[in-house]
Amino acid sequence: MKEGTKLLFRVFYGALAVILIASIWVHYATHPEVHFFWEGFPLFSAFYGFIGCVVIILGSKAIGHSFLQKRENYYERQDRKGSKGR
């Protein structure tokens, strides 16, 4: 990894740490309005973001590989198959 990228990552992790600490602090200091029980956990969004992202990637790829993804000439092949049958 290049130096610049390394620095960027350090800044990112630092910012993330600040955000997490600030979230906990804001949650217990200001008691924002809660609509659902999970909003009672100050770090719920972080958890949901991580899990959600993993589920979206793995879940979609599983669906795609099982039946949705086809070769790029799929429809053209269907055309040719059709014209051969005629």
């Binding site: 600030a22 973001g49 993993v54 979206i56 990637i57 879940g59 790829k61 790029e72 429809y75």
Partner: protein, 617 residues
């Protein structure tokens, strides 16, 4: 007439002036039209023109055509359409084909016609112009795949248009009115509700709600570089507008919208073509708006928040989605490539395009300080106010996916991913960069100063997007999405595949229909044709010499009878004689005397008389 001027006319009439100019004059003229329309809207907002109510009412077959229904809702949509059309035209200025500009402005103008339409007939008229003018933006790509996708696109939209027309006629028959107001909704089969269903179906097709969405992801990525930028804004967002007018608070839309938001995200993971990936995100983002319309029960606080959210999100979406398509279009424009498997490492050549694209990506992902944050969170917040936990989770989940694809996967695969650039590239023409810069500025400006948008919304806004808790929770969500992406980035490389979608049903069954027409149906038609022609041939043969023909037929019957009675061998002579007669047919025609001719004529007349008398009775 003079207290208002329809902004659609500026585009619709102005479009036909485009071929009259050349070079820089034409460029100036193209940019002048949206500015005139914007001035028109400002005159409305500031009360110099009619700023509310209904104007330009024309009597039509006992009903009133209302070309100008002006209120806060139509104005806010008109504003964003006009502003977006300016940015998009700036992006398209280098295109030399007059036809593209002309159809683009017909498309924009007809959308404004839809926005200000106060009755169904006017709505239908502009609705159809919108459908076919958009078609040309696809066909101007002049590739086989574009022609085919265009045909599929227009067939779906003709179907939608016919549903709309059928719904309108049924509605008119039942209620006696063509006024476009909130429609009654129910799950039963009363004619009024069936009319509403048909109209809703047409609206949902244009809003690209699954399973009626495949035309969008099929056709938009096939359009021209500049045409697809126009396409992203108008059809789907005008559908949101008419849904708000006709079906605000319809519970069906809440779920349809939330499912739509997630659906687009799932398909975007699998997509290899960058513009198709972005097209799936149109579907996903429009899902938020459809969901907002569904939650927009009139008279409740959550409902007002939801409608405000849907409108605000439509406004912001038009801007950032245009910016994203401009970025992806710029890559296609300079490299001729749009597949992730054929791209990568382009940052070295196009850093400016990358950074401008990323502003669109931050906006769509809802980063604080960008416009998606101030609008998307309104819809999500409305779902919290209405206590819909599943909807809330689906919408938040879709936010994750949005950032993952448009903010991470796409730019990573296009501008980075490999150390070595996949191909030579350069920054796009200056006007394209300028258009992207202007759109990026608007995205950021609204994000930093949301009041300017909130003041335009139909209901007063009591929402503070920059409450610390909102900002922090969104930052957590996006930050950890990035971490998950970074860990799994190897799984997100483009794959050279296409993804089957609901267009499979009509692309494959369509082929079966064509096979059915070409094989069994044609065989039947040929058979029927042969039968009819054999009767005709017989009649022609018969009329050559009816007396002899009757004689031959009589002999044939006799021969057949004889064969049965005395056997084949002993009828040989008879057969020869008959064949001889057939060969000589028609032979000498019998000469009729005058008397027998008269007798025949009289016979014919008397037959006719009998027939006439019988029928008369």
């Amino acid at each position: 007439m003079t207290d208002w001027f329809h902004p659609a006319l500026i585009y619709l009439l102005g479009a036909f002036g485009i071929p009259l100019f050349k070079g820089n004059v034409r460029k100036g003229y193209l940019l002048l039209l949206p500015l005139l329309a914007l001035a028109d809207l400002l005159l409305m907002s500031h009360g110099l023109f009619a700023s509310s109510g209904k104007v330009w009412i024309f009597p039509f077959l006992g009903h009133d055509l209302i070309l100008g229904r002006i209120d806060r809702l139509s104005l806010v949509f008109a504003y964003v359409f006009v502003i977006a059309s300016f940015c998009m035209m700036l992006y398209a200025l280098q295109v030399k084909e007059t036809g593209q500009h002309l159809t683009a402005y017909l498309y924009v103008g007809s959308t404004l016609g839809v926005v200000f339409a106060g009755d169904f007939v006017t709505l239908f008229f502009f609705w159809e112009v919108m459908a076919w003018s958009a078609l040309f933006l696809i066909w101007y790509r002049k590739k086989r795949s574009a022609y085919e996708a265009g045909f599929r696109y227009i067939l779906v939209h003709f179907f939608g248009g016919l549903c709309l027309l059928a719904g309108i006629l049924l509605h008119l028959q039942k209620t006696g009115s063509i006024a476009f107001e909130t429609l009654s909704w129910g799950w039963d089969f009363t004619p009024e509700h069936v009319a509403s269903w048909l109209i809703l179906l047409a609206f949902l097709i244009n809003a690209a709600v699954p399973p009626l969405h495949a035309w969008l992801s099929d056709a938009y990525p096939e359009a021209t570089v500049t045409g697809s930028v126009f396409l992203t804004a108008f059809t789907t967002k005008s559908a949101i507008y008419v849904l708000i007018r006709g079906f605000a608070g319809t519970d069906l839309l809440v779920w349809a919208g939330a499912i739509m938001a997630v659906y687009g995200v799932v398909f975007a993971v699998l997509e290899n073509d960058i513009r198709r990936l972005l097209a799936y995100h149109i579907i996903s983002q429009v899902g938020y708006m459809v969901c907002g319309v569904g939650m927009g029960v009139t008279g409740t606080e959550a409902g007002q928040m939801a409608i405000n959210g849907a409108v605000a999100h439509a406004f912001c979406h038009i801007l950032y989605k245009a910016l994203l398509f401009m970025g992806a279009g710029a890559v296609l424009h300079v490299t001729g490539r749009s597949k992730l498997t054929e791209l990568g490492g382009l940052y070295r050549y196009m850093p400016v395009t990358f950074h401008l694209y990323m502003i669109g990506a931050y906006s769509i992902s809802g980063f604080p300080l960008f416009n998606g944050f101030v609008s998307k969170t309104m819809v999500v917040h409305a779902s919290a106010m209405a206590h819909l936990p599943a909807i809330w989770l689906m919408l938040e989940g879709a936010s994750i996916g949005t950032f993952l694809h448009t903010g991470l996967k796409l730019p990573w695969g296009t501008w980075f991913a490999s150390e070595k650039p996949a191909c030579k590239a350069e920054e796009p023409p200056f006007n394209m960069l300028l258009a992207m810069g202007l759109t990026a500025f608007l995205c950021t400006f609204i994000g930093v100063y949301p009041k300017i948008l909130y003041d335009l919304l139909p209901y007063p806004v009591q929402y503070h997007p920059y409450a610390p808790a909102h900002v922090l929770s969104m930052s957590q969500l996006l930050g950890f999405t990035f971490i998950a992406f970074w860990l799994l980035r190897s799984k997100l490389h483009g794959e050279a595949t296409i993804t089957l979608d609901t267009d499979w049903f009509y692309r494959v069954t369509g082929r079966w229909v064509i096979w059915f027409c070409e094989v069994p149906l044609m065989a039947f038609a040929k058979w029927a044709d042969r039968q009819v022609m054999s009767v005709v041939h017989f009649l022609v043969w018969f009329s050559l010499n009816p007396a002899q023909a009757v004689h031959i037929k009589k002999e044939e019957a006799k021969l057949r009878l004889k064969r049965v009675v005395v056997g084949h061998e002993r009828t040989e002579r008879h057969r020869h004689l008959l064949e001889e007669k057939r060969r000589r047919y028609p032979g000498e025609l019998p000469k009729l005397t005058l008397g027998s001719s008269m007798a025949l004529i009289l016979l014919a007349f008397s037959l006719y008389l009998i027939l006439y008398l019988l029928v008369e009775r």
